[in-house]
């Protein structure tokens, strides 16, 4: 991927990210106004806290990514840095080796499904979120290992 292709791809990704952030913010605001749990049990409170915490983290993460991408497109020096970081062959090789491209989306899906399942069954929520987190930890450990190896 050359610089111009990367610039176009970054612009497309940014548009998608902005739309996703806006939709996510609306859903986040709606969920915080509707009490989906019937009773206040320790399990429900834990689940509510977990979902709120993760939602706030996701929102902050999305805003940071948005700001970073906007900076990259407005400043040539920042764009160059991001372009090199994204296209660096060693980094890509390490990412391929630890399966970031597959494991990360899968883990996010597992955690999201776990949160939805939490409204119906607490053990399913715990199992899915634990599996998602375990995958992320294994991926991070592998990334660290391969970063040292190569």
């Amino acid at each position: 991927m050359n610089r111009e292709e990367f610039r176009i791809s970054l612009k497309k990704r940014m548009l998608f990210l902005r739309i996703f952030t806006a939709v996510y913010f609306l859903v986040f605001a709606a969920i915080n106004h509707i009490d989906l749990f019937a009773a206040s049990t320790p399990q429900n409170d834990f689940l509510k806290g977990f979902i709120s915490g993760l939602s706030v983290f996701m929102l902050i993460f999305l805003v940071v990514v948005n700001v970073k991408a906007t900076k990259a497109l407005s400043n040539e020096e920042n764009f160059e840095k991001i372009y090199i970081a994204q296209t660096d062959e060693r980094s890509r090789y390490i990412k391929e080796k630890c399966g970031v491209g597959v494991v990360m989306p899968l883990s996010v899906i597992l955690i999201c499904v776990g949160m939805i399942a939490g409204y119906f069954s607490f053990p399913v929520f715990v199992a899915l979120v634990a599996a998602g987190n375990f995958q992320i930890i294994v991926c991070c450990v592998l990334k660290l290992y391969y970063s040292k190896k190569y």
């Binding site: 090199i84 660096d88 062959e89 060693r90 980094s91 090789y93 190569y150």
Partner: protein, 75 residues
């Protein structure tokens, strides 16, 4: 794979950062290639050689690939 990148850098008084910027990669990749942890791809090897105005075989040591079965070194 053995390389002469470190020697060439010193001879040309170029830092790893400058070389990395010149060939469009990161400083960490240059370090890994220099310490023989990572084998550069053909396009990157070509860019590095071109940066110094040399041929690929003048910068990278391909003697490990000259064995009889032709498979050479593995990563």
């Amino acid at each position: 794979m053995k390389t002469k990148i470190a020697e060439l850098r010193k001879a040309h008084r170029i830092s790893q950062e400058e070389l990395a910027k010149g060939v469009g990669t990161t400083r960490q990749t240059i370090t890994s290639i220099e310490v023989e942890k990572y084998t550069a791809s053909l396009p990157l090897a070509y860019k590095i050689a071109k940066y110094f105005g040399l041929k690929i075989e003048d910068v990278f040591d391909f003697s490990g690939f000259d064995d009889a079965d032709g498979k050479g070194e593995e990563r």
